[in-house]
Subunit: 75 residues, 3 copies
């Protein structure tokens, strides 16, 4: 490795942000899916499909950040 | 170790982000599993299977971040 | 210790992330155990066993981060 390769720090920051955003965002989202499912069990399949829509939307930015991490690691 | 090995700072950042995202995400998620189970105890097995689906989705980004931490530590 | 040993900063970051993730995650999780137990006291033992399952899942990433902290401290 060459000295002063700041790209690796940038990659670490981007990966950390992706983990925080994806982990907490999905956790809060799916927790309310479980709450709704325990309130109205017959709605489970509809809630599940909406939950996956939510997971996709939550993951947009974390996935972008992981892509950034890969790009920055190579710098 | 060579001086100025910035990869270790990047690894520490990525590991910290993974811990925050995985810990808080799973905590919020499983807390609502407990709430749903106390509301409808007969739904426990179905809620548990959905909870594990949620844990898997929550862990995607933290696990990626841990993988980044390993990669960056070797840089 | 040699000067400019960046591994100690990385170890501190990883340990901090583990503390935040494990602390808040377990706090939120066990708070809902208490809420569920106060709702249905006769479910206490089943809720407790599920809570310990949840604590184990929450602690996965923080424990990994602590392991990273030990590894990085030696770098």
């Amino acid at each position: 490795m060459d000295l002063h390769n700041l790209g690796v720090i940038a990659a670490g920051l981007a990966a950390a942000g992706a983990a925080v955003g994806g982990g907490i965002g999905n956790g809060v989202l799916i927790s309310q899916f479980l709450a709704g499912m325990s309130r109205q069990p017959e709605l489970e399949s509809r809630l599940l499909s909406r939950m996956f829509l939510g997971v996709a939307l939550v993951e947009v930015m974390p996935i972008l950040s992981i892509v950034f991490a890969f790009m920055l690691m190579g710098k």
